[in-house]
Subunit: 197 residues, 2 copies
Amino acid sequence: MDDTGIEALIGLMARLPGLGPRSARRAVLAMLKKRQQLMAPLAQSLAEVALAARDCQICGNISTADICPICANPARATGEICVVEDVADLWALERAGAFRGRYHVLGGTLSALDGIGPDELGIPRLVARVADENATEIILALNATVDGQTTAHYIADALAAAPAQITTLAQGVPVGGELDYLDDGTLGAALRARRRL
Amino acid sequence: MDDTGIEALIGLMARLPGLGPRSARRAVLAMLKKRQQLMAPLAQSLAEVALAARDCQICGNISTADICPICANPARATGEICVVEDVADLWALERAGAFRGRYHVLGGTLSALDGIGPDELGIPRLVARVADENATEIILALNATVDGQTTAHYIADALAAAPAQITTLAQGVPVGGELDYLDDGTLGAALRARRRL
């Protein structure tokens, strides 16, 4: 090789998650062999998205418009706001297709160590939004980690004055999961939250 | 999501080898979070390489110049030409750093079924080049497959009239390989090609 342009491209590709130097080289070689069909359209698409992508002014989702397609969809003004830590979580919930309301993306969890307080997570903005939109239910879909749950409790407290109902995701046995392979914490939670068949 | 621009980008990324829809989504999300540091430079680099990349007029290597850096390097005019099937093989040999001559990239193997004959692989061009450059050694570094070996024999015949020596890669035990895990063919080849210690 020794081609500086191609080497630089491989170096950038290798910084993507899931790609190392070896797979980045493989991907670049595949693109070099399909310059017209793959490389040029990918360069074009990347440039367009890099220019247009921005955080939604309402929910914090990333899209190519000031207001993301979810917030812009009037059919989704159900009064339900689902609070998630990260855009990846929003995308995962959208793939599940089980939620038809809107979102609020925190962009992280409260962390005294990292200097992340309520303002950094837009919690005052969420409280104002809940009042503005007369939201009826706030679903705290945060990760089941210590940080996630601490943040969920903080948000629940901040919203205590709002008339909206505060809910959280159910904990229990994953669909298709085998009891034998579940950790004790999940099994205990599933047992405590048991329901009538 | 539902963002057509971002969806299209994920679709293109998913066409890269080693990336599926899931890892493409993860890569795009990582880029969206690092728009200035990663996404914009990657778009720029891709566009530049897509525009500049071409097949080397001498050896068939892909680079961003008409003559690739290897062919353009006078220190590599050693009279040795290493014939490989694919640019990936050339890159692999360059990484090994054991060869200081030049290459000839076939771009495939002879295949009557796929209609790939000597002309498609540039074999007449190779024969002319061997004469032009007064090459002293032609190393046939083709894959140890039936197609690769058939092609190697064809090239050796085509070059029979040239004064250059025709050689091929040694077959044997891989460095660090354990005999117990080797296939019978490799083990047999290593035994037949045994050498005095």
